[in-house]
Amino acid sequence: MAGNKLFIRRRDGRIEVRLNDAGRAVAREAFGHVVAAERDPDHEWHASLNAPIDPASDDDDVVSKLHRQNEISTNAELAVMTLGEEFLNGAEAWAWLSTFQIALRSTAIANGLMTEEKLETCQPELLGYIRTLQQFLFALAECV
């Protein structure tokens, strides 16, 4: 039964997006935040996008940092560009999954929700947002 699935992989390899307007609005907000956070050092998600590669070192390799920044931006921008699409190809679906996952972890880090206890006791609205992103990720992980 595929009736309640948010994303469905078709036989031709395309992934059908079955999000309604409210779901696409959540996706738009999440993707938009990732694009903004990568560009704005003051954005509350910026630190989570720039975690150390080698914590034992004073500074990470500049080329690796630039590569990461470029890849995150490319994925997030591709996700934004395809927000209105009914079908995604494999690369676009991967960009959606990566960007949703970054949005999910960044939300948790920015709100100090890095333990199960803190997650379960956070504000209902925030928990609802996190559960929605997780639901999108569960569905996408079955398709990519």
Binding site: S64, E71, R105, L137
Partner: protein, 86 residues
């Protein structure tokens, strides 16, 4: 006369993935499969190690490749670091 040869073996670098309370387990498996091309079983085992032990070494070897894998994992949204094996 015997010749003594010293072979210096460089200690490998490890790519470590860290647990967090929000990332769905199935997403971790999918990301490992995509980045490393491991079997479904191996990806599931690694994911369970992350979940139960708080971290797992998912790859070891040359520093440049370890750094590259670490960046790919971070781009996919997982918390990952590299460390020099003892």
């Amino acid at each position: 006369m015997a010749t003594e040869t010293m072979v210096a073996i460089e200690r490998p670098w490890s790519v470590v993935v860290w647990d967090d309370p929000v990332t769905p387990m199935s997403v971790v498996v999918v990301i490992f499969k995509k980045i490393f091309g491991y079997s479904n079983n191996k990806c599931t085992q690694l994911m369970l190690t992350v979940h139960h032990e708080g971290r797992a070494i998912v790859w070891s070897g040359q520093r440049e490749r370890a750094e590259s894998y670490c960046v790919k994992l971070q781009v996919a949204g997982l918390q990952s670091t590299i460390e020099h094996d003892q």
